[in-house]
């Protein structure tokens, strides 16, 4: 049985062709039997400009590492590797045009494209329904596609080190997402819908452009680790100064709602029915008020585990409507009472 000179064979099913300065991958030296038996193939740290289509001859391949080459495209032959579960292709020259058309048909569970030149996540990747771990760290992504919600098996999503400006609320539709890395991006706000990520254990948001967090973040019951350093988080109590006085329509709507005046479809045109249904409750528990469009943004601090003061944002129906404990805005001892978060939540906050 001929093996390429220099290749290490750790066990029958592992073929290690890494770090051999290969410019091409000549499969002729590998016997047919070996090709059938190989489950893990290492081709990382070579100088491959392209991956030969004949890689598909490794018909039982489960793990393929082609990292640290000069690959600018992935051959179509890879889609014939029906057993492939893990593909590691870090540090190449791949972009969103590099993937073969049927890439989405693979049964991948782990996919790592970090250190490439992707400006967007290709749609073929959104078809990998078995995907549990996805990394596009250190690319040039400007956004996260809404279709990310299709990856219903996803547990880990690594998007650190890109140019992402916003998190689509569709991320919250990933039921098993445990580990979400968004550090080193340009994110200005976190959508409150993320509170639906009941499985989230770890959230990495350091080095972004966050000035506050939505108060819903307190609802992430299983969150154990949260990194927030390197964000321009508001340190002192900030009250939003601008406040547009409510319109007549809004004042009427507030009166109807807060006085529980009954109304029926035959009383009102449908557009006013819809308007009244949009009323939001003022989060101040001592206030029974509602608001429609006109509300005051207020940043409140929450003491996380006795360690930090995180600015959380919530809406109030009017500037006069404050929560019970905000009497001294400059006080360091200020803490959130209305939603009493047990101290054992958010055990380790990597704020420092």
């Amino acid at each position: 049985m001929e093996i390429h000179e220099g290749a290490a064979v750790a066990s029958d099913s592992v073929l290690d062709f890494s770090r051999l300065s290969l410019t091409t991958f000549n499969l002729n030296s590998v016997s047919d039997e070996r090709k059938r038996d190989t489950k893990q193939l290492y081709l990382n740290y070579n100088r491959l400009g392209s991956l030969p289509s004949s890689v598909s001859l490794f018909c039982n391949l489960e793990f393929l590492d082609i990292s640290n080459n000069g690959l600018s495209a992935i051959c179509e032959g890879i889609t014939r590797l029906t057993r492939l579960k893990t593909l590691i292709a870090k540090n190449n020259r791949l972009d969103e045009f590099s993937l073969p058309k049927e890439f989405g048909s693979l049964q991948l569970e782990v996919l790592n494209f970090s250190g490439n030149r992707f400006e967007e996540i290709p749609l073929q990747c959104m078809k990998l329904l078995r995907l549990q771990s996805l990394s596009f760290g250190g690319n040039r992504l400007k956004s996260i596609p809404d279709e990310i919600e299709n990856l219903t098996s996803l547990e880990l999503l690594y998007l650190g080190g890109n140019l992402i400006t916003a998190i689509p609320p569709e991320v919250a539709n990933l039921p098993y997402l445990s580990y979400l890395v968004l550090c080193d991006n340009r994110i200005q706000s976190v959508p409150p819908q993320l509170t639906r990520l009941h499985s989230l254990r770890s959230l990495s948001l350091h080095n972004n452009l966050l000035t506050y967090l939505p108060r819903e973040i307190l609802c992430l019951v299983h969150l154990q680790e949260l990194s927030l350093r390197g964000n321009p988080l508001v340190v002192r109590f900030v009250k939003e100064m601008t406040y547009d006085p409510p319109s007549l329509l809004e004042l009427a709507g507030r009166t109807v709602k807060s006085r529980n005046i009954p109304y029926y479809p035959y009383d009102l045109p449908s557009n006013l029915m819809r308007y009244l249904d949009l009323a939001s409750k003022c989060p101040n528990p001592k206030c029974a008020g509602v608001y429609f469009d006109s509300c005051v943004r207020q940043i409140k601090f929450v003491d996380f585990c006795g360690k930090y003061r995180l600015p959380l944002m919530h809406y109030l129906c009017s500037p006069e409507c404050t929560s019970p404990c905000s009497s001294n805005p400059q006080s360091d001892a200020e803490s959130e009472e209305e939603s009493s978060v047990p101290a054992y939540r958010l055990q380790r906050v990597l704020l420092g």
């Binding site: 592992v14 893990q40 290492y42 793990f63 590492d65 893990t86 590691i88 870090k90 540090n91 782990v110 790592n112 970090s114 250190g115 549990q132 771990s133 990394s135 760290g137 250190g138 547990e155 880990l156 690594y158 650190g160 080190g161 445990s178 580990y179 890395v181 550090c183 080193d184 254990r201 770890s202 959230l203 990495s204 350091h206 154990q224 680790e225 990194s227 350093r229 988080l233 340190v235 360690k307 930090y308 003061r309 360091d332 054992y344 055990q347 380790r348 990597l350 704020l351 420092g352």
Partner: protein, 217 residues
């Protein structure tokens, strides 16, 4: 000044033997320890068994689902207890992992890069009166095999793996050993004491050290 000949340790085990000898005496020559640690050329075969990269990256090439525990932070893996004079451990940093700003509880701290790169940012101790942003002194990127030294009189530091593609591993020596330290909020200088825990000891995973571990420094 006379330099004693530095014997080049050929393996991690040899380095540990030499360190035991050096630490027999009660006083430490910082340069001597730094030199001997730097003289050891990192060989993953020596330390792989301690390097618990227990997170998503398929570092070991086979990620059985039961072995995967997603972690947002680095792991501390004890290698040797130095006859009570020092603790030697390997820290494994996944992509993007970083530490808090922390002190070293009056101990010497030596840190050697075994693999990858780490960014070290030095900070001044915060003034107990001032409540502003902490003052950064300097920043550097440590390359493989280099050894950095710090103690409380030099200042505080934050250590980070800034890479989004590569893991990093570092060898740390603390003398005398310590179990807790202070962490600092960069925005306010607010400090907090935390207990330090080990992810593994001598290559064995130690998950039940404390019920609620607070910080892996």
């Amino acid at each position: 000044m006379e330099h004693t000949e530095v014997v080049k340790p050929e393996s991690l085990d040899e380095l540990i033997k030499i360190l035991h000898k050096i630490f027999e005496s009660d006083s430490i020559n910082v340069e001597e320890v730094q030199d001997i640690m730097e003289a050891y050329d990192s060989n993953p075969q020596d330390w792989m068994r301690y390097a618990k990269f227990d997170q998503y990256s398929t570092f070991d090439g086979c990620s059985k689902k039961s072995n995967r525990t997603w972690k947002n932070r680095y792991t501390r893996n004890l290698v040797d207890e130095g006859n009570g004079k020092f603790n030697l451990m390997i820290l494994c940093w996944g992509e993007g992992h970083g530490s808090s700003i922390h002190d070293h509880t009056d101990s010497h701290c030596f840190m050697k890069l075994l693999q990858g790169q780490l960014k070290e940012t030095l900070f001044e101790w915060p003034d107990s009166k001032s409540k502003g942003e902490m003052v950064q002194k300097s920043q550097r990127i440590l390359q493989e095999n280099k050894v950095a030294y710090i103690n409380d009189s030099i200042g505080l530091h934050r250590v980070e793996n800034g890479s989004h593609t590569e893991c990093a591993a570092s060898l740390h020596l603390y003398s005398p050993p310590f179990q807790s330290c202070q962490t600092f909020d960069q925005r306010t200088g607010h400090r907090n004491t935390v207990k330090m825990t080990f992810w593994s000891k001598k290559g064995e995973r130690t998950p039940f050290e404390t019920a609620f571990s607070q910080e892996n420094n």
